[in-house]
């Protein structure tokens, strides 16, 4: 508990005080069962908080500000819900009990009340909808009702898709927790990337909840830069490079999906070729321990092309991409290192080893889709993409690209789930820099 990283000053900030990432295997194994009393208590406190939030709403409409005592009550609920969420999603280990814990490993700092615009206060529920939608996709908190949905889906009985429903309604955080559960039982520590991703989701959910419940007039930001104080990227052979601006001509935004149609056709054709190339690369890597340069280039171009295309579709990128996946040709680009020697055992089981990464990539794909939908509307109205939304989309695309690079044997390094986009100039000598740190 040496490091206490504080997220950049915003009215609602996530504080992470858990550098070691140690977890008790026993409590992790029974985590959901242990959390049942907490769920009940959070739900009860949530009802009370909603009632108080309604009073806050009236106060904003009449006074333009909120009473300190009521603000503190709702803020206390938000902190507690975040702590419980962190516990449930394995981002923290200590049991949060039934009141806010001081110095909890994952906690919130919430500023005192400030004046708020009566207009934005009046329409708060409507204004919060996009943020709540994104929070739902990230699934970072009990605030957005994801746990309730997960439970109802799981309790449906006999529904083969119940687990997937649980994931999809619990969002990225639920998938990260699911994967972390296995990792922790095996190693006793949570993979850094998964924790950082969950913390990011918690942070966004707390911001969205705080905005909805009138704790702050500041709109939530989804910029992965907010995760930088407690997270960093390790060296990775597959890196995303964003050089694009944020301008988005409305006409190309309006027709974005239709403009991508020829690309989808091309991607389909290329995917068939990439499948056979990947099979050939697999045999070659099994035989020689290395993917031949020509196949590496072909598959790297395919991975890069997919990133260019989906960046365009999700409004993360501005310009119409080329059809060749050429390095440096697009504003949201991939840098992929040359082929490296790979362990034949990991090559042999690569498809199975890639499944967790692909599962998480799929969940992040859902986030990217929400980014695309929200970005489309915003860009259509304003002619530009919000930087935070753009960067979150780029982060999701980066993870997806790393996952496919791993599957296609372009790298032996497992994808890293932390949402940050760029490495720090001065590498932090923390465990995340260790080679082979999964997720």
């Amino acid at each position: 508990m040496a490091m206490a990283a504080v997220v950049e000053q915003r009215p609602i900030r996530l504080v992470v005080r858990d550098a070691e990432l140690l977890r008790s295997r026993l409590t992790v194994f029974f985590r959901l069962l242990l959390a049942i009393p907490l769920f009940v208590w959070v739900a009860l406190r949530g009802i009370a908080a909603l009632v108080v939030a309604f009073v806050l709403w009236l106060a904003v409409l009449i006074e333009g500000t909120t009473p300190q005592s009521l603000h503190d009550f709702v803020a206390g609920y938000l902190r507690y819900a975040t702590q419980v969420s962190a516990y449930v999603f394995l981002a923290a280990d200590p049991y949060p009990w039934f009141r806010c814990q001081a110095e909890y490993p994952v906690d919130l700092e919430i500023d005192p009340p400030v004046r708020q615009s009566r207009w934005t206060g009046f329409f708060r529920l409507v204004l919060a909808l996009p943020a709540l939608l994104l929070a739902l996709a990230l699934g970072g908190g009990l605030m957005n009702g994801s746990s309730g949905q997960s439970w109802s889906a799981s309790s449906g009985g006999g529904d083969e898709n119940a687990v997937w429903y649980a994931f999809s309604s619990g969002g990225v955080a639920a998938v990260a927790a699911f994967l972390a559960w296995f990792a922790i039982l095996a190693r006793g520590t949570e993979p850094r990337g998964l924790r950082d991703l969950t913390a990011f989701a918690l942070n966004y959910a707390a911001q969205a909840g705080g905005y909805l419940l009138l704790l702050t007039p500041v709109y939530p930001t989804s910029d992965p830069k907010r995760a930088e104080p407690y997270s960093d990227l390790p060296e990775h052979p597959v890196r995303i490079v964003v050089t694009d601006d944020l301008e988005r001509p409305r006409l190309t935004v309006l027709f974005r999906l239709l403009l991508a149609i020829p690309h989808f056709v091309w991607l389909l054709l290329w995917s068939v070729a990439a499948f056979f190339a990947a099979v050939a690369a697999w045999f070659a890597a099994l035989a020689t321990g290395r993917v031949p340069l020509a196949l590496h280039r072909f598959l790297a171009a395919y991975d890069r092309y997919g990133t260019h295309l989906f960046a365009y579709v999700y409004v993360v990128g501005r310009r119409f991409p080329g059809f060749t996946g050429r390095a440096g040709s697009y504003g949201v680009d991939l840098e992929i290192d040359p082929p490296e020697r790979q362990n034949r055992w990991t090559v042999l089981f690569r498809v199975f080893l890639a499944i967790p990464a692909l599962l998480l990539a799929s969940a992040l794909g859902g986030v990217a889709l929400v980014v695309g939908v929200l970005g489309w509307w915003y860009a259509l109205a304003r002619g530009r993409m919000p930087e935070g939304l753009r960067n979150l989309g780029a982060s999701c695309l980066r993870y997806s690209a790393q996952s496919y690079a791993y599957l296609f044997l372009l790298t032996a390094r497992y994808p890293f789930a932390a949402p940050v986009l760029e490495r720090r100039a001065e590498p932090d000598p923390s465990p995340l820099a260790l080679p082979g740190d999964a997720f």
Binding site: L258, L259, V265, R319, F320, P321, G322
Partner: protein
Amino acid sequence: MLFPTAVPDDLSLPAVDVDRTFGAEFVDEAKRYERFFYVDWILAQIALLATLWLYARRGVAFTRESSAGPIGTGMLLGMLGLGIAWLVGIPFRVAAHWWSRRHDQTDLSYLDWIVQDWTILGAEFLSICLALLIVMGLARWLGERWWLPGAAVFVAIAALFNFVAPYLDFTTKPLDDKVLLADAARYEDELGLASIPIRVEEVSKDTDQANAYAFGLGPSRRVVFWDTMLEEPFSEGEQRVVLAHELAHHSQNHLPEGIGWFALFAVPGAWILMRATRRRGGMGSPEAVPLTLLVVVVFQLVTTPLANVISRRMEAEADWKALQVTRDPAALEQLMVGFSETGLGDPDPPDLAQLMLGTHPALADRVAMARAWSFRDSP
């Protein structure tokens, strides 16, 4: 070779009293109904031409929105041009849809209509990308000589599409009316055709209008009835006439002839395109694409009257052959009245409307042909 017809050259069509045949009140209503579409169409064409003219001048600016190479950028400019034209056309299409709904000519909701409109636009985007890929690829390879092989490739694609389309049709089902199928076998025999599958397309959920069509080439030839054609108010005799008419399209080789005509239009069209885009760097350059759209639309508009003459001639021939095999001019006449009633079609449209929009002879002329056949060929 492409212009001969089975309709006798010396056939003179008798005058038809439209009000008496179709009903004076109905004719008035149909004229009012169609007049709206004529005005709507003219305004839409003016708006389209003005938009494409502006796009031809300013559209080049969109090249900076592309990270693709010249052909990819050309595709983007082509799609954006279509997109802009589509946007400008929205008010006119909405008005037309509103008018159709107001006159109970369609049950399609606005939401379904929008979805359908977007789907059509998506297909158009894909088509223009394919076309530009071919033209720009050839132009970058062959320079200004692209137009001749380019036209040949488009004709080949048209033929291929005509041949393949029936195999890609998953929306129809086989006709199960045994009486009509027996008639089909008889007509095929008389027309010298091999057995042609007769299929039914379900459209009755969206419209009350009736239609049928022939498509395919050689072994892929088909005849398709809209299900509305097989219901009231159309009698069995009228259905037989429609069936014979569509089979006649196949027996008279109208679809291959259509491709031949397309080739005759495509060659000069490609040459004009080559000449028109020369000052923009030729068709190999993406900067030429906005101008290309304007040239293509103007060329289509200019050649529409001629294309309609050819189409009307083929339809008249199919009517004549249908009369010869069914020997039932009364059914054809009644069919035209039925078409007019279900589609609120003006039996005797203005000449200008017929010139620009008339792919089929006017209903009154088709009735006249039925009567002319009675006078001339009935036993």
